[in-house]
């Protein structure tokens, strides 16, 4: 069972989330504002907090920082009605582990909660939630789904390229087989297969200016798979 604390000022959203998440073996406690959230967190242990950005008494960002300071092991999923990238950036920089725009797909929330739990159990808390990765002069912004070249040119990525590059930069220097990459880049409603993996890799090489004949960054390991060969920094 996953213990989840929902902080939202809307009573019906709290109640319906409680009802809905129970079906996916998530027990829900609910708080209507920041004060109640602090009170509950002082007496109970939670695996994940689902926090609304706009609360009547306190800003969700301040609460997010408070959780980071006092309960650093509890991951936070930020919910917000401001769908723009700026508040998304703010939310993640203030220490939220994930972000979901209202109105969200209920299934998506369940998927995020489970993913965060899995990562926490595997101790991957850090790498997965990092917003930006740097390698060889390139910057990979996972929030805006784009690459910034060493010459400061923005190179937008497709969803498939984004998922593929995420999988690669999180595991630099490791050979990843096609089967592993299919598993890592799976997304709902999309068919990923050997052919699409190869296509996405070649697109990424093109965008990264990596020669297809002698690739340096994304190397082909014959018969084994692909290897991301670069020093990755945050």
């Amino acid at each position: 069972m996953t213990r989840c604390l929902v902080v939202d000022d809307d009573a019906e959203i709290r109640r319906s989330l409680d009802e809905y998440l129970q079906k996916f073996s998530v027990t829900v406690s609910a708080a209507a504002d920041g004060r109640e959230m602090r009170r509950l967190m002082a007496t109970q242990v939670f695996d994940v907090v689902v926090l609304d950005l706009m609360l009547p008494d306190e800003n969700g960002l301040t609460l997010c920082q408070w959780i980071q300071q006092h309960h650093p092991s509890v991951p936070v999923i930020m919910l917000t009605a401001h769908g723009d990238p700026i508040s998304r950036v703010l939310g993640l920089e203030m220490g939220a582990d994930d972000y979901l725009a209202k109105p969200f797909e209920p299934r998506e929330l369940v998927a995020r909660i489970h993913a965060i739990r899995r990562r926490a159990r595997r101790g991957e808390h850090e790498a997965q939630t990092r917003r930006e990765f740097r390698f060889e002069g390139w910057a990979f912004d996972r929030l805006l789904r784009q690459l910034v070249s060493p010459r400061q040119v923005v190179v937008p990525l497709s969803s498939a390229e984004f998922r593929m590059l995420s999988a690669l930069v999180e595991r630099p220097g490791r050979v990843l087989s096609r089967e592993q990459l299919i598993e890592l880049t799976r997304a709902p409603g999309v068919e990923v297969n050997d052919r699409s993996v190869d296509l996405t890799i070649s697109r990424l090489r093109q965008k990264l200016g990596d020669s297809p004949k002698e690739p340096r960054l994304i190397r082909t390991m014959r018969g084994e798979g692909y290897l991301f060969d670069a020093q990755v920094q945050t």
């Binding site: 769908g83 109105p103 040119v153 969803s159």
Partner: protein, 442 residues
Amino acid sequence: MKRLAVAVRGGFARAFGDTLARRIFLLLWVTLVAAQALAIGAVTWSRGDPYALRMHGAPSLPPLPGLVRGPRGPGPGPGPGQDAGPGPASERQGPGPGPQGLGVDADLRDVPLPGDVPMPPREGFRGPGPSQGQASPPPWRGPFRALTGWELTLDYGIRLLVTGLAAWIASRWLSRPMRDLVRASRALGESLHKQERLPLLDEQRGTLEVRESAQVFNAMARQLRRQFNERGLMVAAISHDLRTPLTRLRMRLETLDIDELQRQRSVEDIREMNALVDAVMELFRGDGPGAAEALVDVDVGALAQALTDDLVEQSMPVRFEGGDAPVLAKGQPMALRRVLGNLIGNAIRYGDSAEVRVGRDAQGVWLRVTDPGPGIPADKLEAVFDPFYRLEDSRNRHTGGAGLGLYIARELTLRQRGSLVLSNRPEGGLMAELRLTPATPA
């Protein structure tokens, strides 16, 4: 009574205060007097002849040609003075116009009048050459002495210089308030969008008219800022408040016991409403408090490729035709995604499939989205950019949308200093062309 007093005071200030009229008057007057005085002063000084200064400005008129000719007597042709060998006048005048030329008044002053008592021949004229004569100190020749070529040049030069300089300074000086106003007006739109400091004018400096315009302009700018902020905040608030009920609705659909098809349709409606809220938020993001997206170098080829790939992944009929070389333009990546996404969406919705091309020419970078659909009547090609405008045949369709898509797309494009136009292709179907400024070469 009071109003009259105010009017009188206003009229007084206009007549005697620091008005534009007074500035122009002063400027012209000072310039002309200064040019006159300087030219005369310089010429006199170069002659070292204090008397000439006194006489130069004297009210006596130079003798008119008619008067000169008068006492010459009835005989036509050259006067007696000229008969006796080479006339002294022609010798002295050199290659200039002869005594009969009468072109320049100044020349006449030196011409010996035929009826006069013949002047005793001077030393210089008897000498072997005219150079000797010029070397001798000029004798007194009455108040109207000709200016030599050099003095004339000096005189005209100084006048031209002084009036030219004054005109240049004055034009800068008098037009400065206008230029300030133009600059401020130009900066106003930008600063309203970017929430920067307003480009206010100095209300304390300049003429009465300038100070008045500055006050009016500043009041207008502040009013605009207030309305912009209010509009942005209001739209943000409405959008935000719409999302909470949409979230409730979405959650309710999960727990309600309804037909699956109905549920899916409702989910689709919620998604559409949210997309509209998204679009409006994006449009007003720059207006309300909160930073607008920065203008950066974007590989628009990669952008078009990425958007197309995403749609192809969802089995949408989109094709991207482009080279491998990056096509760089100045733009806002997120806004560009929305604009291009909207154009491709329209092409699929109304033309059943979309083809995206990217390239550059002498005018800049272009992105073209074409479809094989029915196109748009030529007289409606611009109207479709108006907010809430919808073509007749799209109104009945479920997929018609709110009619904000193209309006928002063009707004976002203009903000990136680009342009967006629609045209019907000769081979059929619609073409949307998005043009952007090329990126600065590295």
